[in-house]
Symmetry: C2
Subunit: 467 residues, 2 copies
């Protein structure tokens, strides 16, 4: 009978008993194979940790000749004795007594020992998780995602799956993908020759969602505290390192809470996420700090421990104007803050994560609560050093009459489309607030990775939909 | 200054101190308002628990007259003293000292006191979470979803977000939705007049995923243990109580494990989920047991404590034939088991959850591992009393030569489309296994709800895409 398998993460941390012998069996993929004069060294990794286990194969092991010819990427099952390692940089190593070659790697294996560029590795998205960098990225991504659910679960928030396919194309958050079962070039037509959308699958045009917020609001106004965490989509033809066509969003929504509470939740959330990365993924972060983004751990630690600042948009504009700094884009009340402004505020002026609140109503979405000044809305953006905006949120306009006047004055909004949304204001409306966070932006922030394509398992961007 | 808000779930469980007075503030929606001769009773619910808090408003409270005219569904903030309740069926009640009417409900509020049919409530999907049944459904759904992440997280599985938009339309799992930015009816055309898919957003035809499995496999062959939990889609025009066009799937995948391990994981998983429902949602389940599905708690408890049986498909066919029972569909080796067969096996023949393994290869997917008998594959279905199949899984065919011969003999499969998938068998292939579970089916099983439309916040089904 085979001894049970030990994951390499456990093997690396195992205590070797005083009498010296700890026999175990590991399974994984060879990162490197190096035959010396006396023995063969195999660096074995199974994804359970950043670190690989050094396997030392002496020549008396069966099939030693075949083992010396093993190629990088081969899948192996190894039995042996875990011993203290005489080598530098590793506490233990496995002295093999049996090596089973489970799956050889064809010598054309694309991930040879040399370092590969991230662009090349994007073309190997089905294999790149076997590299140091991408193993670490996707371990951190998973740890953060699970931590999102823990964070909200512990606070009594309900996880709501808002719909992916939607008939609403009017939220204005961005360009949308159409979802259809009609033949694109030859759809059925009505008497007037127009495409007969009634014969589409949902009997009307449908799209991929850009946000679950409005649906989420309706659930918050009944369950009090909810969050969504699901995929959202943008059909924008923008090929930047920070935009993907498909990405995951986190959107909490709290009834009975205002913008201040919303900022507090966002601050607690960001700190909890960074603590998860720092504490639960310490080995992976040490790698990122060393190889990808020097100073990462110090930056994240500072943010996790900071008191976040809060200033109004009006104050932010004044501070930027007073700074004397010359920006590419002019600073002017009523205009959006650009990334350069946002970074200057959080990095230079305040030197810590900063909430900017109360933005001019003209540059924010219709559902944000109108402030009493008649000019601003109860919106917030959280700015953090190095990347600028990380989170955007607002208190929602809960007053039916105010929302109705907004609808009346905006030709892009139709009461018919939003009748169900307005129902929540007709029937027991209550103050509520929430925010949205692109999950990939958080993963990039926590790892120092600079291209969104490198934190999504199989990224979708304009003209790219592989695997 | 206002006293902080207490959630009603906490208020209902609060200990009243010996000296008698516990002042607190609650916020929620009035489920009922009933004015007696001396006082007004308001049943207040904020979604944090099934139970509502009885608020007793004496006439000396400000605006008493307005309070007596409050309508069902109104949003209120109430301060008062939590006291032991003299009434039957409730431990505590809140003697109000101040009632703030936050948001009145227009008298046209659709959720009046009388019980509503589920079909009517589907048209009120934006409000139905405020009813007893749907509050309970979506609390249980959330508890189970969070428990999914806990279950896998505790076992070292990484959560992987597999893509929603895919260019692969050949997995054969079902009809797919097309995702496009081309104008339907008037797309650009190539020189031969065909739709020019190269001008579509991804420069080729793309679809909504039916499963993340193949992508998940590539990550398991590097990280060892992974799972997906995300939306999947079927463009099938089937209007049944068990099919939705958009639903959430859970798909774990384990390298270094075989079909036996896969069954064990599925058994552990189902038991853990039912324990979550029974222990963490006891109040909601008591409601379902009483009002929706009598015997629910006993059934779930039995499953959570059972040793699941394991039989082969061949044994299942023999047992069905020997049973003498006459079925609507004939039992015959080589044909799919029908729901009536599956339920008879688990309910009557074995009387407990049952894995049926080793199905004829002709009725299972190409990626399932061929058994040595040349006739069957290492597939498993988990059958449970009352609903039949709950989970389907398999060990995957990890042998490149076997997969290649399958591709060569199946005209629906092209090596070009799956080249990346085959790469995982070329480079360090390893035994692996996994399963898929429609999350909604689990929620239906745990709640006794019989229509999938009633366990999805905003269901999408043929000709229905509202909200």
């Amino acid at each position: 009978m085979q001894s049970p398998r030990t994951k390499i993460a456990q093997a690396l941390q195992a205590e070797i008993p005083a009498d010296g012998a700890l026999n175990l069996r590991v399974k994984g993929w060879a990162r490197t194979v190096r035959s010396g004069k006396k023995v063969t060294f195999i660096s074995l990794n199974d994804g359970s940790s950043f670190g690989s286990l050094q396997v030392v194969v002496p020549p008396e092991v069966d099939d030693y000749e075949a083992i010396t010819h093993l190629t990088t990427g081969s899948a192996l099952s190894v039995e042996g004795e875990l011993i203290e390692s005489p080598a530098k940089g590793q506490r233990v190593e496995l002295k093999a007594t049996k090596v089973e070659i489970v799956g050889k790697a064809d010598p054309s294996y694309p991930l040879q020992k040399k370092r590969h560029g991230f662009e090349f590795l994007r073309e190997q998205a089905h294999l790149r998780v076997r590299t140091n960098t991408f193993g670490a990225v996707f371990r951190v991504r998973s740890a953060l995602a699970q931590s999102v659910h823990r964070f909200f679960g512990e606070r009594g928030f309900y996880y709501i799956h808002t719909p992916i396919i939607t008939a609403s194309d009017t939220e204005g958050a961005g360009e949308m993908f159409r979802v259809t079962t009609l033949p694109v070039g030859d759809p059925p037509r009505d008497d007037e020759g127009a495409v007969d959308d009634k014969q589409d699958f949902f009997a009307k045009p449908t799209f991929l969602t850009v946000s679950g917020q409005l649906n989420g609001e309706t659930f918050a106004l009944g369950l009090s505290d909810i969050y969504t965490f699901g995929p959202t989509f943008r059909a924008e033809n923008s090929n930047t390192s920070r935009h993907a066509s498909e990405f995951w969003m986190i959107e909490p929504e709290m009834a009975w809470h205002d913008l201040d509470d919303d900022c507090q939740l966002a601050e607690d959330f960001v700190k909890a996420m960074l603590k998860t990365a720092l504490e639960d993924c310490a080995e992976d972060l040490a790698f990122f700090d060393k190889r990808i983004d020097k100073g990462l751990i110090e930056r994240l630690t500072k943010v996790a421990e900071a008191d976040f600042a809060r200033i109004t948009y009006t104050e932010a504009v004044e501070l930027l104007e007073k700074s004397g700094k010359s920006f590419e884009f002019p600073v002017e009340w009523g205009k959006n803050l650009q990334a350069e402004h946002e970074r200057y505020i959080t990095e230079e002026i305040l030197g810590r994560p900063t909430f900017v609140v109360d933005y001019p109503k003209e540059i924010k979405a219709f559902y944000m609560r109108r402030n009493d000044d008649g000019k601003t809305v109860a919106a917030m953006d959280l700015l953090v050093p190095k990347i600028g905006e990380l989170i955007g949120g607002s208190q929602r306009e809960e007053r039916l009459d105010v929302l109705e006047s907004i609808f009346a004055s905006d030709p892009h909004l139709s009461v018919e489309d939003y009748d169900w949304y307005l129902d929540t204001r007709r029937f027991g409306t209550a103050p509520h607030a929430g925010f949205g966070l692109g999950f990939e932006r958080l993963v990039m922030y926590a790892t120092g990775m600079e291209n969104i394509r490198d934190v999504i398992p199989f990224p979708r961007t304009p003209r790219t939909c592989e695997f």
